[in-house]
Every structure is written in C-alpha cells, then in structure tokens.
Amino acid sequence: MAISIQPYRQEHEPAVEEFNRRLQRLSGDPDLVFSKTAIPRWLAPANHNPVWNEFFVAIEGSSVRGAYGLKQEMVVVRGKGTHRVACYHHPLSEGIIDRSYASVGALLARDALARQPLLYALGMGGYERPLPKMLKALAFSLTPIPFYFRVMHPAKFLREMQALRQARWRAVLMDVAAATGTGWLALKAAQRMSMLRGRPRDFVADLAVEKVAAFSEWADDLWDQAKDNVSFSAVRDANTLRLLYPTQVRPDQVTSTRSLRVNRNGVAIGWAIVGERRKDPKFGHMRVGSIVDCWANPENAASIVQAANQSLEKDGVDLIVSNQSHHVWCRAFEKAGFLKGPSTFIFAASKQLTELLQPLGQNRSSFHITRADGDGLPANF
C-alpha cells in the first residue's frame, strides 16, 4: 500500500500512539516517541503568530509509518532581509525497526524540503548519527555549534561526568583527581587561563539583573540595535520571545527557565534565558545549569554572560553549559571562564538556505545560534 505524507490530524492520534509503541518496544529506546497530540504542545499554530510548530505523518492505510515536525519561523540574514524558514525536527521512521520501511526516512526529508526549501536542522547528536548523514547526502551544509562549559564543583564533576567516564582507566584517573584535589586545581587553572586569554574582566558591579515576567518594548529595542551584528539569526523581537519563553508554564511541561534582563544605569543592555537542565544520565547526579539563549550588542555580551553565569552560580549548580556560534559570544564565554568542549550540536542548512547564507566561510562565525534555536526548549529540557 502506498505511503502518503499528510498534516497530522486528531484522527491520526491513535495510529501515532501505536507507532510510538512499536518504535519503543522494538528499539528499546524510550526517547523514540512522536507527539501524542496533533496540536503541538509548544508553539501551536495561531493566527498572526510569527513562529509555530506543525507536524506531518506518513500514512500507510490506517497505520503511521513515520512522522516529523517543522518549526516555522522568521530569520534575519545580513544584507538580505527577513525570510521565513523551517526547522526540520523529530523525524521518526518505521525503518528504524523494520528494514522494509527503509524508504520512509528519505520520503520524510524530501517532503519537508518540498514544503520549505529554506530548511535547517539543529542538534542531532553528532556527525555519525543517521540524520546528519542523510542531510549531508541531500546537500545540506553542516556546521558544528561550539559547546562551552564551566565547572563549578570540580570534585563532583570528576565523579559524575558519565560521558567522560566510559573508559575504565579514565574513570579511575578522575576518581584519583577528585580525591586528591588535583582535578580541582587543574580545572580551576584551565578556567582561569580561559579568562586571562580574554580581554580584562568587565566591571559588573554596575549591572542590575532582574527576572522579567515578559518581553516587551525594551526587547524590541535590543533586537533592533544588535541585529546588524549577526549574519544570521532567528528573529528575537519581543513578540517572538513571548511565544518562545512564555511565563505561564503548564504543569505538564518540564521547562524550568527564567528570563533575565540585564540593566546598566537603569537601561536594558541585554537579556539571557537561563535554567537548570532536566536530569540526564550523561551528567550523573550533577545539577546542570544552562545559558540557553542571550542577546545584546557585542560590547555588552561579556556582561550578559557574566550576569547569567552568576545567576546560575547562585542556584548552586555543579556545571554550566551553553552552545554559542557567534564569535563575539564565544569570546564572552571564554572570558567568563568557560572552556570549549567537543560539540555534537550541529547546524545543517539545506542547499537553498546555504545559498542564502553565502559567503558561508565569511558569515559562519557571525551566525547567532544557541541551544534555544531549532526544536527549542521542550526537547532540550
């Protein structure tokens, strides 16, 4: 029977639930699950909203054999104005568990490209994963988004950082380093060196940081002031930010972020979104804070990072992480003592989007892409 890809409607929900059950049972991976509801819980389409999510399902008879999401949004490209693009996210195929459906992955990706040629994907867990390999075959350009981390409690980091402890010899060394204090010394020294490589530390005593209930005109002013400093960014005006970071969080959402406005002399100079990540086996029992998103003029980037860092430090997190692509923000994180780690967070741009972003070699370091971009917070928190 032929497979057709259609918008996900309420009548498909039982078949999606059955699809999820098959994927989880046969793959053993509890994360292989598509939205149980046809109406997205995050960024549901609504009149005049500039950003929204929409879902599609691959139907064969009465069964669902695949699904994916598109996050429709506006981006600004330096010198080329504002464009609507879409983020391709959560593609799932029956081919994961049944090889006779090996064609579904290609069908989903091509369907998404047909609906929005200016397409991108973000994250994906590294170059060796199936999705980036598939996108590369479809002539997407792939760019890693740098990963930054700052260890607040070195002994706990050394004992709990499961991602680094997979080799037994390394786990033993990390235990020794934690017990003797040499790990503490090494990490603090590395973070101090990172700070010294930056420019002299900004004076942050004149900054006032406040948790804001909503983004309003002040955020529009910041967006207008700073957008010419980026070669590519999702629109971050007040209207969009209110949708991305709603203050009213439903009980079924696990997001726990807060929006910080940073003021100098009573004037907003930038903002940051910070929060504590949900528990993740690769971080063991550590409390992991994240600087999810941020925005400011380049001269204020370091102040925003320091303010966000201090806010999470006060929460008592063991580790702070962030993904940043813009060279100014990368420098600001280094200046605040963050170390650069290996990144599995990849930005993949379709052929047409890549053409829009040319000259890529020159523009790439001025993309403003953070952890909040792409499929956004619900997936990452």
């Binding site: 032929a2 057709s4 090889r99 090996a102 064609s103 992955g105 290609a106 199936p130």
Partner: protein, 72 residues
C-alpha cells in the same frame, strides 16, 4: 552502483537483494540509492517511486520504465 553503495561484491547483488538481505541497506543508503539513480540516469523520482524501490529488481524495473517514458 549497488555494489559500491552497499559495500558488497557485485556477484552477491541479485534482483532479490533488498533491505532484508543486504545489511548496509538502511534509511541512509536508501536515500543514497535514490540520489545515485537520479544522478546516473538523469531522472527525478517521485515519493511513490522512491517507495517502490523495495529491491534491486524493482529499482531496475522502475529505472527502465522511467527511461522508456523519457523522450530522447
């Protein structure tokens, strides 16, 4: 083409070769097969045709019918 894509000797590729019989024939290699067919034979494959490529034999049949239908 199939031998290169799936990393097996050409003599092991038959009309019945499929994702069930060739270890390397996964979603990514299926896409690569689609792209390789399109490039080599100068054809565009529709979603329905991509789905028809369930074995090497069916892929060959599909390409032959596409080529016959293409004005030369």
């Amino acid at each position: 083409m199939a031998s290169d894509l799936f990393g097996v000797p050409a003599e092991r590729i038959t009309a019945d070769s499929s994702p069930q019989t060739l270890e390397a024939w996964d979603s990514i290699q299926h896409l690569n097969l689609v792209l390789a067919v399109e490039e080599k034979f100068g054809v565009q494959l529709s979603p329905e045709e991509i789905e028809q490529m369930k074995s090497i034999g069916e892929t060959v049949k599909l390409v032959e019918s596409k080529l016959q239908a293409t004005p030369r």
